[in-house]
């Protein structure tokens, strides 16, 4: 089974790769998929999983093969779906001791001297280091030992490795940019990994990348609709409107949608353009209300929407509430909580002010320094 065989012509152009967030992340793919993803014909070293451009990966698995060279380790990592070679360079800290013990001790001596010098300056004490105190030589040695312990793995131990994927001599391998041994005595890390990866695939890797803007789907036409209304409200500084005031703005979104009814079918088979338009408008207005951008001051037959940011009365009401209540003993120290402000606004101004709308008002008041947030969700006036 090939995971993603792809025509070279289907390969997305390289200028678009950066638009895919997976491209700049370490993709947590199954080893099987790392081995099977197709290499790009445009740029070697870039691979495609499900049209997602990928060049670096993140893997966790049991070491089933190891080979040590002077400069690097080669570990075969098995995650239960495949085995891949990981090229793990030894760090300088690791090699210094093996190749050049003199350099290392010279370094530590310099550090040691500088520390003991500062000690004598500070306390006027002698530089003899008692067993309990901080000794840079032993600390550095400990650090190096810990580093070595994390890098030198035996067969059967668990390795976490991140880095770009390379193909050398027709074999895929991971050039580790980071790698370390994972202590997993009760398999908690492995189990968590096994539970998480399928979710990542479902939510991310198995979804086709949105490299081009495709506005055909309903959700995107809805977001377009809300954006059109938002822009309109902002440009014209609208403070109040009725649905039919903005209905025409959405007309182009509905008419440009592909006609699904064929010539033979009666027109009443699907919803008419007019109905679609009204439905879209309704959804867009609901969305804007949920976001708090608009609200209805009075729920009546006459559908009037108030634009939160332009509603001077609401702004003044909120400011007054905070100013008055901050003087009360109960709120003097911490300021008024947002829920307190909300209930007061509902009593004083309108029952239909949503929390989202209030948050919007508070944010704009805070930007103007009319109010100050004392802590999260608490506001006061100076």
């Amino acid at each position: 089974m090939q995971a993603a065989t792809m025509d070279p012509s289907e390969e997305p152009p390289s200028v678009l790769w950066g638009l895919d967030p997976v491209f700049s992340a370490f993709a947590r793919l199954y080893v099987r998929d790392i081995l099977q993803m197709t290499e790009s014909t445009q740029v070697p070293g870039i691979y495609f999983y499900n049209s997602h451009p990928i060049y670096k990966v993140d893997a966790l698995g049991t070491v089933v093969y190891k080979r040590e060279r002077e400069d690097f380790f080669c570990y075969g990592v098995d995650d239960g779906t495949g085995v891949i070679n990981c090229l793990c360079w030894k760090s300088n800290l690791f090699r210094e001791e093996e190749d050049d013990p003199g350099k290392f001790s010279a370094l530590t001596t310099v550090m040691f001297h500088s520390v003991s010098l500062s000690e004598t300056h500070a306390g006027g004490k002698h530089s003899d280091v008692s067993p309990g105190s901080f000794n840079p030589v032993t600390e550095l040695k400990k650090l190096r030992e810990a580093q070595q312990k994390n890098c030198r793995l035996e067969i059967g131990e668990l390795l976490r490795v991140r880095g770009p994927v390379k193909t050398s001599r027709h074999q895929r391998e991971i050039m580790a940019s980071t790698y370390y041994k994972v202590d997993d005595p009760v398999m908690a890390v492995q189990i968590a990994w096994m539970m998480e990866i399928p979710q990542l695939y479902r939510q991310c890797y198995d979804k086709p990348p949105q490299l081009q803007h495709k506005a055909e789907s309903d959700t995107s036409s809805l977001s377009k609709a809300t954006n059109i209304i938002k822009d309109f409200l902002k440009q014209k500084s609208v403070s109040r409107f009725r649905p039919y005031d903005v209905q025409d703005l959405l007309q182009p979104l509905v008419s440009c949608q592909p006609q699904t009814t064929s010539a033979d079918q009666e027109p009443e088979a699907g919803p008419s353009a007019c109905q679609q338009l009204r439905q879209l408008l309704k959804e867009a207005l609901e969305l804007l209300q949920d976001e708090g951008i608009i609200y209805r001051k009075v729920k009546s037959q006459d559908e009037i929407y108030h634009v939160t940011a332009q509603d001077k009365d609401l702004l003044i009401a909120v400011k007054d509430i905070i100013r008055e209540d901050s003087k009360r003993e109960k709120y003097a120290e911490k300021g008024c909580h947002i829920l307190h402000i909300l209930s007061a606004v509902r009593q004083r101004h309108s029952l239909n002010v949503s929390k989202a709308a209030l948050e919007l008002v508070l944010r704009s008041l805070e930007c103007n320094s009319d109010i100050v947030s004392t802590s999260e969700h608490h506001y006061t006036v100076f």
């Binding site: 089974m1 080893v31 099987r32 049991t62 089933v64 093969y65 075969g76 098995d78 995650d79 239960g80 779906t81 495949g82 085995v83 891949i84 070679n85 067969i155 059967g156 005595p185 009760v186 398999m187 908690a188 492995q190 189990i191 096994m194 539970m195 990866i197 399928p198 695939y201 479902r202 198995d206």
Partner: protein, 124 residues
């Protein structure tokens, strides 16, 4: 050369793995016979006890803790008298592991692959 990937199997599935297949499985160590390099892991499933015989020559010496949970990676082979045996490449003590959660994770991974193969089967 790299060995084949050791795919997770439940202990009660080891008998149906074809010979030479790479597997990884788990179980409680119930018995170890060092003179024959043979360990037996046991696990319960559907009110039945299942045994996995492990050949431990490649992982010796190891510290056998009777009653502890172990994870084994290796190849299956048929031995007369015993049946299917796993020749261990890796044998790790993982005592304290949450077996129920591990089983869930294995099933989760399997259902993901099944789902994906289904999806890929359709357009092809």
């Amino acid at each position: 050369m790299l060995p084949a990937a050791a795919i997770f199997h439940f202990p009660w599935e080891i008998n149906s793995v074809k010979e030479g297949g790479s597997v990884r499985t788990y179980g409680r160590l119930v018995c170890y016979q060092p003179e024959e390099s043979r360990a037996t892991l046991s696990a319960q499933h559907a009110s039945k006890e299942h045994h996995v015989v492990v050949h431990t020559l490649f992982v010796e010496p190891f510290n056998p803790i009777i009653g502890a949970q172990y994870i084994v990676l290796g190849e299956t082979e048929n031995t007369e008298g015993i049946g299917v045996m796993v020749r261990a490449r890796v044998l790790n003590c993982v005592d304290g592991v949450n077996i129920a959660l591990l089983q869930k994770a294995i099933n989760e991974q399997r259902s993901f692959f099944r789902e994906r193969e289904c999806k890929q089967g359709k357009p092809a």
